[in-house]
Symmetry: C2
Subunit: 193 residues, 2 copies
């Protein structure tokens, strides 16, 4: 998606350790007009899918998932939580996720009330690298008996391989920008054609 790639080139900052900082428009300060364009693009790419629910993960997935929902007839958005909360009771689906940026493993969970075998789910997240968070969300949807209709990612770090593994498994993965080269030394960012 050209406008997202241009924005990454304009405002993204490359850091050592394969880190791409986009906190000025994606995951700290958020550009809602850009998110609306991204939502329209996902709507187009998943036009033939019957989707009735969006699943994402806290925190920065929530913003793009909610704006995406406005293009999908305001279907409900569920976000997977990362820490056990006193406010969640009853049964949950859970999975283990390891964070690339925070260097730790944590549990993510969704209340069983909000995913059922009747659901057709679009999973949305901001970043895809090795795919740990996304695989955790897929695991949770499959535990529930719901159907994964597609995966919508803002920025995929293609060179880390998580996306291609999911494509090989047959999932429709729509990453709006796929970064194949990220070079901290000279700040180079190259996108997949």
């Amino acid at each position: 998606m050209k406008i997202l790639e241009e924005r990454i080139l304009k405002d993204g900052v490359v850091r050592a350790g394969n880190v791409l900082k986009v906190d000025c428009f994606l995951n700290h300060q958020m550009d809602i007009s850009l998110f609306q364009d991204m939502a329209k693009e996902w709507k187009k790419r998943f036009a033939d899918k019957k989707i009735n629910k969006i699943l994402t993960i806290e925190a920065s997935g929530i913003a793009i998932a909610c704006i995406a929902a406005t293009e999908f007839d305001n279907i409900p958005v569920v976000f997977a939580k990362k820490n056990e909360s006193l406010n969640i009771d009853g049964e949950i689906y859970s999975s283990k996720v390891s964070s690339f940026t925070k260097k730790r493993v944590y549990d993510v969970f969704v209340s069983k009330k909000y995913l059922t075998p009747e659901d057709h789910v679009l999973i949305i997240d901001d970043f895809l690298a090795v795919g740990s968070a996304l695989n955790g969300l897929i695991d949770i949807v499959e535990q529930s008996g719901a159907t994964v209709e597609g995966l919508g990612i803002a920025i995929e770090k293609g060179f880390q391989g998580g996306g291609d593994k999911l494509r090989e498994k047959g999932y429709q993965l729509e990453s709006l920008a796929i970064v194949d080269v990220l070079d901290a030394e000279n700040g180079t960012i190259k996108f997949r054609e």
Copy 2:
């Protein structure tokens, strides 16, 4: 706001310890159409204010803040983060917040890049009880030299007093539902007139 009050009466669950669970439409599964109605109501109530940025706090504030932004000409939304992250560098504004549901104190922070003395800020959050999170956000805005134009809350637990203290200080606080009685024994919820 009548439709939010009706939704709380229909789907909210009262738990011991002044807990009001609204995770089926507000902070786990999210009703985007309801959030759009809430956004329109805040737009109306803050019609005379010049607002150029929305500030919220992760995680559940993000959804309503982003949908709110769509009613305020898609102004940028910034969310305060709760834990130090390897992806945030440079200088930050920070404040201490104690969580009512999680019974702990944590730091919240915003990068100095995203709040400046020129900003006129609407602070949005899902819940207001004693006001710890909201006071932390106000503290951060005031550290930056920006102006707090208003406070938009979905559900205020009026009987816990945080909201009235902020009104006494002169802030324009617009809570869309103010719960004045929450009785776990018989499940009673009463709203302020």
